[in-house]
Amino acid sequence: MDVRLSAEQQALREAAARLVDDHAPGSVAELDDAARTARLEAALTGSGWRELRAPEDEGRPLASAVETAIVAEELGRGPADASFLGPTLATELRRRAGAEPATALETVLLRPDLSGLVVVEDEQTRCSGVAIDARGVASALALVRTGHGYDLVGVPVAGASPGRDLTRPAAMVEGAAPERLPGAGRRLLTAEDIEAWSAFTLALTCADLVGTMRGAVDLAREYASVRRQYGKAIGSFQSVQHMLADAFVSIEGSSSVTRHAAWAADTLPPGEALAAAAVAKAYCARAAREVCETAIQVHGGIGMTWECLAHIHLRRALLSTQVLGDVGANLARVVAHRKIGGVHDGLR
């Protein structure tokens, strides 16, 4: 056991941090700065990080889920308003199915409540759902159930619009006809594949939440250091100090469970990986809401304004929370995995 990041992993984190520091929006107004988003997009494309889960020899991914999570965390911290989660999840699906790489940027199609991939019963059934993280994306992957497993299909995506998460616009897909992917040599995905993909997805959302929390606390810490009331920096008041200290502690705990969930996604059997991911997601999602709420509270009235970045972090956290299940859904996974459910609903 040695769960330190390797030198290469640390270098990757630093590179991702640099990209984010150079190109992420420094204010809410900058979200609309098309030149900046183009630079961020170009830098991210140039980095090749969207292909971390593309297949190398024997179909293994170029990089592990740990490295992928490192990039996801830094992009969350930014917050980086370029698509990463969606394309990475799509690439992971293609890799598992042995499909050819996508020719254009692609994401995944989730059920309207974002709880999982859209699955249709046959290729004649039209697909509806949400193409998450759809900025600059042309299509989204869904599943068709067959007698022997699940086949990948694509649906066209258009018109991503900023929704609850202003950094990662999504697109509604309504009644799109699924299209078989081109190319041969593809295999059907098993239920275990889906489970493993879900574990990977949850781990990445945790990493994004950890980054989001870091970004929110950085923002609040800075504000608390400069904002003065009653003749002193508000960060010198014990109540503000304790709110931020608790937030920092939550980040540290979240970081530890996320590191394990990312490791588990590539290493443990799918059921165990999913259980590890559920523990991490329940923990991180609970923490993220509290931490982002704290960041707003520390900002006082400013924190309630559209122009303050604090709600941008909160909104991003809410989206990442919802992807493949929020606190309640993942706590239910923990209950199921530890076999402590099945209680009656009323009084004891």
């Binding site: 309207p112 409540d113 974002l114 949400v130 998450i132 619009s161 929704g163 609850r164 998460d165 999504a170 509604m172 003065r228 009331q229 009653y230 508000i234 008041f237 109540s239 503000v240 709420e293 707003i296 509270q297 006082g300 009235g301 924190g303 309630m304 304004t305 559209w306 122009e307 303050c308 604090a310 709600h311 909160l314 809410l318 989206l319 919802q322 929020d326 606190v327 309640g328 859904a329 706590l331 239910a332």
Partner: protein, 376 residues
């Protein structure tokens, strides 16, 4: 000790209920849509004209001189009908009644109460939030008027207002709490620029920023004496902490009813966490309803109030944020990625621990003024 209606109260309740059945404008929650603010002024006037607003205020200002507990009945019936809450103006009314002279009260309060004149509140500034007394807006005497210069934020309904109750520094040479005075300032004059303050839930019409650059107030429109501004402000903000004054029981109970309906409409869609959050919202909102009954009953001997407004503000904040968390759980479960009413309700709920004095400030007040703990 009786929570039940007296015969007179029951008759009033029946009258109100019948009126609401015909006159519910069915506005969205104020925390979720700018459209609410289009409907708010007509609703205020309709409620007033039907005799259901200002029940416990004196008749000379347009009120009904009824016992304070009638306000609780109004809140319950509004919530039950799914109608908008009563307009949250009580804190301005209380501040002007207590500190304004006879002339000020007679000139301004009837229009404020009836909704014929719209008022906004200009207290906070960018650098004076929790530390309100450090505000920098100046009012400089010039003949029989004052010239006002400064920058106000969180000015409620400033886009619609005819008047603004402005807190400004009239004497820079005394300790900061003593040099403030309050003015009724007309909004339709040169030297005032109003711009909307967009909140994190996208609502742009609840609050504004107002820049005073040589705006003018008549000396006779000063509310209270010179230097009485801080005491007036404290009266206003302490009533602003009272859910009974704000009519927020109706707001929360209505929201809870909507949450309950939402859960019932789709059994099986929600997790145990969602149900639990709604159950706590039910409990919290019911607590506040009963707590306000207690506070309004305590007023039957007349208003006397002190730091317990901070207690009520903290209770109200717990309720709003419990409702907000339950609403967040209802959000985006059918409709995709867009913002929905539930999400906006949640986002707005985060403001309750900030506006009207942060929860940190309220706790300071409870600790030192009520519990008698030593000031640091």
């Amino acid at each position: 000790m009786d929570f039940a209606d007296s015969p007179e109260e029951a008759a009033f309740r029946a009258r109100l209920r019948a009126w609401l059945a015909e006159n519910n404008p069915k506005l969205p929650q104020s925390s979720t849509a700018d459209e609410y603010w289009d409907g708010q002024a007509p609703w205020h006037r309709a409620l007033y004209d039907a005799g259901f607003f200002g029940l416990s205020w004196p008749e000379e200002i347009g009120g009904h001189g009824l016992p304070s507990v009638y306000e609780a009945i109004v809140d319950e019936e509004l919530a039950q009908a799914g109608a908008p809450p009563r307009p949250s103006l009580g804190y301005l009314v209380q501040g002007m009644m207590r500190h304004g002279g006879q002339d000020v009260r007679r000139r301004f309060l009837p229009g404020l109460v009836s909704g014929r004149e719209r008022w906004c509140q200009g207290f906070s500034e960018p650098d004076a939030g929790s530390d309100l007394a450090s505000l920098r807006t100046r009012a400089v005497p010039r003949g029989d008027e004052y010239v006002i210069t400064g920058h106000k934020v969180w000015t409620s309904y400033s886009d619609e207002a005819d008047w603004c109750l402005v807190l400004a520094r009239t004497d820079p040479d005394v300790p900061k709490h003593r040099g403030l005075s309050a003015f009724a300032v007309r909004m339709d004059q040169p030297g005032i620029e109003q711009r909307p303050l967009k909140m994190i839930n996208g609502v742009t019409r609840e609050f504004g920023e107002v820049i005073f650059d040589g705006a003018v107030a008549k000396a006779s429109d000063m509310v209270g004496s010179p230097g009485e501004g801080w005491r007036l402000a404290m009266t206003v903000v302490s009533h602003e902490r009272e859910p009974g004054e704000l009519g927020y029981v109706a707001r929360y109970s209505k929201a809870v009813n909507e949450l309950v309906d939402r859960l019932r409409s789709a059994p099986g869609r929600f997790t145990e966490e969602n149900v639990r959050d709604v159950a706590w919202a039910v409990v919290e909102a019911e607590m506040l309803r009963l707590h306000v009954c207690r506070r309004l009953s305590d007023r039957l001997d007349g208003i006397s109030h002190g730091p317990e407004g901070s207690v009520d503000k903290l209770l109200m904040t717990r309720v709003e944020q419990a409702v907000g968390h339950a609403a967040l759980g209802m959000s985006n479960l059918t409709g995709g990625i867009e913002e929905d009413t539930w999400l906006k309700m949640y986002l707005y709920s985060r403001a309750q621990s900030i506006m009207g004095g942060t929860s940190q400030i309220q706790r300071n007040l409870v600790a030192t003024r009520i519990l008698g703990l030593p000031v640091a």
